[in-house]
């Protein structure tokens, strides 16, 4: 047997085995978890198309390799057939694919319409996308950055807006995706069938930190979902300054972390550690202006980031006007101002007292013994002297 025939047979066997492997491996090779109501149907459509594709691909390749091995000849040889066309055969392989693609189009359309039309009574969540973070606002006033809480087994509709450029909300486990076009409200809906944590990505390129514009979708049974939302809504309403700072670190900082580190390393923007070290000191900016780093400076930098650019940085930060309320800005300010009490993971350092925040504060005003509560860090001894921020 000639080498070319052997190679042809080997390739034919490989092609067939590859096709079989793809069919058997199926779902696990291809998909993330099927965590929404539409996922099983969409995966089935995908699989049907894949099986049809594998069938035709293997058919074409087997014939091609077979011909190449069978009719491989020297230069002296001649073709042993002079057929130029065969209309019935050509019509056959025109019409069969035509019927198949019409069928594929139909199942695809049906699945898509299910995906577009949200059921009546779906629970609405307002979504704001901006470079490079997500904000999710709930009906009870809870608003969380980069965390989307949804109930299990209830249709949820996202009403999405963009503050700046195109973004796209993509939740692979739910098989949904929708571009978010600035200037209009884009919607998407899904019903989670599985409790747990899932990834949400920005799928439309939006600049520098596009790949880090991610969020977590947290699916919980209704009772737990409600409890979480209540807590989220309460959190920034009735808090002491210390708790506010901890709230800022645990809930708000996720929107800042892609550019502002806690460990002093400079990213797209200055590290908060650097800003904290410069508290109450005068800084000179790129444009030559000077400003003392204080509460107002932080507020201006959040609402009008282009106003003061620290040397070596560029004007990359979007405004958070309308995204953060005054209370949240106050919380962030407290966190930055008192960052020396937090470690690089954003946790209150063990042993730090809870009432550090007001130099000369009133003992007894804050409840308890003034130590860190269980969720904020390790317990510590009372009566720690509040440190001063003045250098």
């Amino acid at each position: 047997m000639s080498t070319s025939r052997l190679i042809a047979i080997a390739l034919i066997v490989l092609t067939i085995l590859g096709g079989i492997a793809l069919v058997i491996a199926g779902d696990t090779m291809w998909f993330p978890r099927k965590a929404s109501t539409v996922a099983p149907q969409m995966d089935l459509v995908f699989n049907i198309i894949t099986w049809i594709s594998i069938f035709f691909f293997v058919l074409i390749m087997v014939v091609m390799f077979w011909f190449a091995g069978e009719y491989h000849t020297g230069r002296q040889a001649k073709a042993t057939s002079d057929v130029t066309h065969n209309t019935p055969l050509e019509l056959t392989w025109t019409i069969i694919p035509l019927i198949l693609v019409i069928a594929i189009f139909y199942v695809g359309l049906e699945g898509y319409l299910n995906l577009r039309v949200a059921p009546v009574g779906a629970y609405d969540v307002r979504v704001t996308a901006q470079k490079w973070s997500w904000l999710f606002e709930h009906s009870n006033g809870a608003s969380e950055a980069n965390v989307l809480r949804v109930p299990l087994n209830r249709p949820v509709r996202l009403l999405m807006q963009s503050k700046d450029v195109l973004h796209a909300c993509f939740i692979p486990a739910f098989r949904v995706k929708q571009d978010i076009v600035p200037g209009r409200i884009s919607t998407i809906w899904f019903e989670a069938k599985e409790a747990g944590e899932f990834d949400l990505f920005c799928a439309e390129y939006c600049g520098k930190d596009h790949s880090m514009m991610r969020a977590k979708v947290i699916v919980k049974p209704e009772a737990e979902f409600i409890a979480d939302l209540k807590e989220a809504a309460e959190l920034h309403k009735k808090l002491s300054d210390s708790e506010l700072a901890q709230y800022a670190m645990s809930k708000l900082y996720v929107r800042c972390q892609s550019c502002h580190s806690l460990d002093g390393k400079r990213g797209t923007g200055p590290s908060w550690r650097e800003t904290n070290a410069n508290w109450n000191k005068e800084r000179v900016f790129k444009d030559g202006n000077k400003e003392v780093v204080n509460e107002n400076y932080i507020r201006e930098s959040i609402l009008n980031p282009g106003l003061h650019i620290v040397e070596t940085f560029t004007n990359a930060m979007p405004t958070f006007k309308g995204q953060l309320d005054d209370r949240q800005i106050a919380a962030l300010t407290l966190a930055i101002k008192n960052l020396q009490h937090f470690d690089n993971a954003g946790k209150l350092k063990a042993g730090e007292a809870i009432d550090w925040q007001i130099p000369g504060g009133f003992p007894g005003l804050y409840g308890g013994d003034g130590s860190v509560p269980a969720n904020g860090g390790a317990a510590s001894s009372p009566a720690t002297i509040p440190p001063s921020n003045t250098p």
Partner: protein, 565 residues
């Protein structure tokens, strides 16, 4: 003279006077009106651009070896993938086959001395060079990070996109004119300069493909010109066409962009299909199967390609009705593509197949294009595309079509016509080895990305989840194999220029007119206008061991092709 004796090239004395030696000096190349030299100029430019586009691809793949930073930060990575895409689309694939190979081969296939408008042809090339300069200029005016698609409002927002956008858009605008003039030139050439005996249905299928492409170039390219002009005005003067802050609509831009850029995909692939028709017939030494079906399918693809642009926008927010219509029409493109594949395979049936490098590239094309075409079914299906849009599945799909098919066809065509263009034979064994490396490297790189995409890996992402890393590592290894294959190819092709064996007039046994003049062709191609018959009738073509070339059996008699008319 009305009959043509294939065994005696019209200019048998190689090296005496051919287009390479006809005039000398660098200026005789830069301002040449000879279509062959303009083709070679294009080829040098396109291959140089291909080198740079490829380097950016390797940088992208290397950066993606680990999540987060591997070699560069976000801004540099975003520039790498933008420049890779923009260079490969606008400077490499669009001009590669029509402007480089087409310019060289088309007039000779027609037995003509040149294209219809040689001066316009020269201007096309100079416009290409000017456009390329503006493209490079974007690197020195702030960089380019918009992606090759220039989506608004990112691209018009001075606070977002880097400053090089205007220069790059100007480059696209100018390159568009280059493409339009080349298309116009080819349309007129094919209409007016066909030789006696070459009816429309006796044209080599490569010409059908180039003709269909030329129509797309002339009709679709003005739209991208207007669109990028509007984008430049919007970014510079804030006129409010696409910017929602000024009452514009970003989705309008996407419609404009894809109205050109979808047909542009067929500007890339149709000439490739034309090359494959030639390669398979010539290297199987057998009549192409179903000539009319293949010819008509080229025209059908060209027409359908104008009506499917919306399938790039299923998640953009256009209405479900529009999505349904675009999905339906998209599936209609599948039919002519499938017909071509079946006909090519059927051509091999009972042929006398030479597994030369060009034929191996043709078979690689069939393998890769089948996968590229079939995965198009997934993406054309509405429900499935919602999940797959903007993921690596799409990246893999369009690389299977644009790189694995269009570029592989171009490389195959380059090997097929290399002896004709340079008068030299390359090392056949190294050619086959490089083809195998390219084939394996390509599939390892891009098949992996289908899995990455369905798992939810988003494209244009500098950072990614740790669980995606294994796919990225495999893909990057594939890209290195691919690069080795291409460097090997560059090595033996350049080597052949200096040390290669002299090429005979007809090394493969081709029947179309370019194989009937000397290698390399003389300045005027043919002394007199030749007459032609059926260019796929190989029954009279035989290998002559003594002369080391294919000749027509029955020397001195009229070629049997002429008995038809």
């Amino acid at each position: 003279m009305t009959t043509l004796d294939i065994s005696k090239p019209l200019h048998p004395t190689i090296g005496e006077d051919n287009y390479l030696t006809h005039t000398r000096g660098i200026l005789s190349w830069l301002f040449t009106l000879d279509h062959k030299r303009i083709g070679v100029n294009y080829l040098v430019c396109v291959l140089t651009s291909f080198f740079f586009g490829g380097m950016f691809a390797l940088l992208v793949r290397t950066e993606l070896l680990t999540p987060g930073k591997t070699i560069v930060e976000q801004d540099a990575y975003n520039q790498f993938f933008t420049l890779h895409g923009a260079i490969m689309v606008f400077l490499v694939i669009i001009p590669s086959i029509p402007a480089a190979l087409g310019n060289f081969v088309l007039p000779i296939m027609l037995g003509a001395k040149d294209v219809a408008f040689p001066r316009l042809n020269l201007m096309s090339w100079w416009l290409w060079v000017t456009g390329a300069v503006f493209f490079v200029g974007s690197l020195f005016t702030g960089g380019l990070d918009t992606g090759w698609t220039f989506y608004t409002p990112y691209s018009i927002d001075k606070g977002s996109a880097m400053g090089g956008a205007v220069s790059a858009l100007m480059g696209v605008f100018i390159l568009g004119f280059s493409s339009i003039f080349t298309g116009l030139n080819f349309i007129v050439t094919i209409h007016r300069l066909r030789p006696p005996g070459m009816t429309w249905f006796r044209m080599p299928l490569f010409l059908w493909a180039i003709y269909s492409t030329a129509i797309l170039q002339v009709l679709a390219t003005p739209v991208i010109g207007i669109t990028v002009a509007l984008l430049m005005f919007e970014r510079t003067f804030g006129i409010g066409i696409f910017d929602p802050k000024l009452g514009g609509d970003p989705v309008l831009y996407q419609h404009f962009f894809w109205f050109y850029s979808h047909p542009a995909v067929y500007i890339m692939i149709l000439p490739g299909m034309g090359i494959i028709s030639e390669l398979i017939a010539v290297h199987s030494h057998k009549h192409i199967f179903g000539y009319r079906f293949i010819a008509f399918s080229s025209v059908a693809i060209a027409i359908f390609s104008f009506l499917v642009w919306g399938h790039h926008m299923f998640t953009s927010g256009q209405s479900p009705l529009m999505n349904a219509m675009f999905s339906a029409i998209t599936f209609s493109v599948a039919i002519p593509s499938a017909v071509k594949v079946f006909n090519w395979v059927a051509t091999m049936y009972k042929g006398s197949i030479s597994l030369n490098t060009p034929m191996l590239y043709a078979m690689a094309f069939l393998f890769i294009f089948s996968i590229g075409g079939l995965t198009g079914l997934h993406l054309g299906t509405l429900a499935v595309d919602i999940h797959l849009h903007d993921t690596y599945f799409v990246v893999a799909h369009f690389h299977y079509v644009m790189m694995g098919s269009a570029l592989i066809a171009m490389i195959g065509g380059l090997h097929h016509w290399w002896p004709k263009m340079t008068g030299k034979m390359y090392n056949e064994n190294l050619g086959r080895l490089a083809c195998a490396l390219v084939f394996i490297g390509f599939n390892v790189t891009f098949f992996t990305q289908f899995f990455l995409g369905t798992k939810g890996g988003t494209r244009r992402s500098w950072d990614y989840l740790p669980e995606f890393q294994v796919y990225h590592i495999i893909s990057t290894i594939g890209s290195y194999i691919l690069a080795i294959g291409f460097f090997l190819t560059a090595g033996y092709l350049i080597h052949s220029l200096f040390r290669g064996k002299k090429a005979p007039a007809n090394p493969w046994g081709g029947r179309s007119l370019e194989w009937q003049c000397a290698s390399p062709p003389p300045h005027d191609n043919f002394a007199t206008t030749p007459t032609v018959g059926d260019c796929y009738d190989f029954s009279t073509v035989e290998w002559d061991e003594k002369q080391g070339t294919f000749v027509v059996h029955g020397e001195g008699q009229p070629s049997p092709a002429h008995s038809h008319h």
